[in-house]
Subunit: 250 residues, 2 copies
């Protein structure tokens, strides 16, 4: 039996999604995958590996991460939604299983996905509010939202994003960026929404860093493609949603 | 020179606002007042006492706590807004000085206040979202919002709220509760907004606990005044605003 888990987390105190095979200060780095796997092992009495839709970096958050696992032969089949309740009673408050559902045995959290949507939150001002600032990054200055929107329109498309990666080791660096929107709310919050069939490592944060350089007037909107900017801070980034058919990437 | 500080904090990791004269596990309990006073002492090179508008309990948050202090004779007068920037660079991320302003020497954060507004956030459902759940409490079940609104209308008024206190030692327990509103948002968030010229210790949380008993059908709306309920969890409560003239309590 294959189970899909929808997971939200605050990345602040995690060293990313993926289990790391290292020991630091006498312990494994705390990862979301590691915590969920430990909780599953406790509930089922046996080791269980989960497969995530994407590997978020240290400090990056998720609203809608998706993962799957197979209930091992002989392990108890825990009825849903008792499973998510059980997992949440074991997990720290900064990671929550939002839902658990049975899926087809050939469904795969990563390979069945049509794409992903990320949101980056940049607060313009002097301070991050302690109630919501953990999922935002701070920018002390102004940004030209119109210029960033013009630049974003030029970045959208199917192209080789190798130069917008923070060091990726994949062979194929072509991605289809179908949406890159810049929103602006009262109170000085600028949001960047990026949707693509896949993202290279660090790609959203470099796209945001690039647009930010445009927004502060250092790069012209029409030059954005040729002048990748720095990698924006991890804390502003949230994996908002993973898209599976029949939902379309748009 | 007297300075007013507007302060927001996430109460989760604080044992309340007020400095406590006890030692636990070899240390003073962490309090918001204590942290701000330490930061002020570091900036000014001398001890400085601050006076808050109200003492929030352990785990209670603030959007708009207000405090004042006097710059001691001989201490450097740090120009505003360099003061809030300096304080925020010393303080933990869970407490932020939103603004600092000079006030008249007879202005007092507590005694000049006309009243306070508190908001309580109760999430109906199975899980608290890790991005915003730290300022919410969870309720696994349904609540009858209309019944709670009818009960709230009966609680409003000037009356002796001694029975709605979690053990207050003040002599005068009469308070003027001018507003007690129950809001309901999509996604299952119920908000309670309470405004009064003053609150007894634990009073907002007991008002919420009382309305919750009405909401679940255990107490009739017309009996709410005579049947104070339990004290709702601290984590859902936020000191939203302190009101000073010329602003009116309403």
């Amino acid at each position: 039996m294959r189970i899909r888990l929808d997971i939200a987390y605050l990345g602040t105190r995690f060293e990313g999604w993926q289990v790391q095979d290292v020991v630091r200060d006498g312990a494994r780095p705390r990862t979301v995958q590691g915590d969920v796997q430990s909780a599953l092992a406790r509930l089922h009495g046996t080791e269980i590996a989960i497969h995530g839709a994407g590997r978020t970096d240290a400090g990056v958050h998720a609203d809608g991460q998706v993962a799957h696992f197979d209930v091992p032969d002989g392990a108890p089949e825990i009825p849903l939604p008792g499973l998510s309740r059980g997992l949440n009673s074991i997990l720290g408050e900064d990671v929550r299983v939002l839902s658990a559902a049975e899926v087809a045995s050939d469904w795969h959290a990563r390979f069945s996905a049509a794409g992903k949507v990320y949101v980056y939150r940049l607060r313009l001002g002097e301070v991050l509010h302690p109630h919501r600032g953990l999922v935002e990054a701070l920018w002390r200055g102004r940004l030209d939202v119109d210029a960033m929107r013009r630049a974003a329109a030029r970045l959208v498309g199917e192209r080789d994003f190798a130069r917008f990666s923070a060091g990726s080791h994949v062979a194929d660096t072509v991605r289809r960026l179908v949406r890159l929107e810049v929103g602006s709310e009262d109170g000085g919050l600028v949001t960047f929404t990026a949707a693509a069939n896949g993202f290279l490592r660090g790609m959203v944060r470099r796209l945001v860093g690039t647009l930010r350089e445009v927004g502060r007037g250092r790069v012209a909107p029409e030059d954005a493609l040729d002048r990748p900017g720095p990698t924006a801070e991890a804390r502003g980034l949230t994996l908002a949603r993973v898209i599976y058919p029949p939902d379309q990437l748009k």
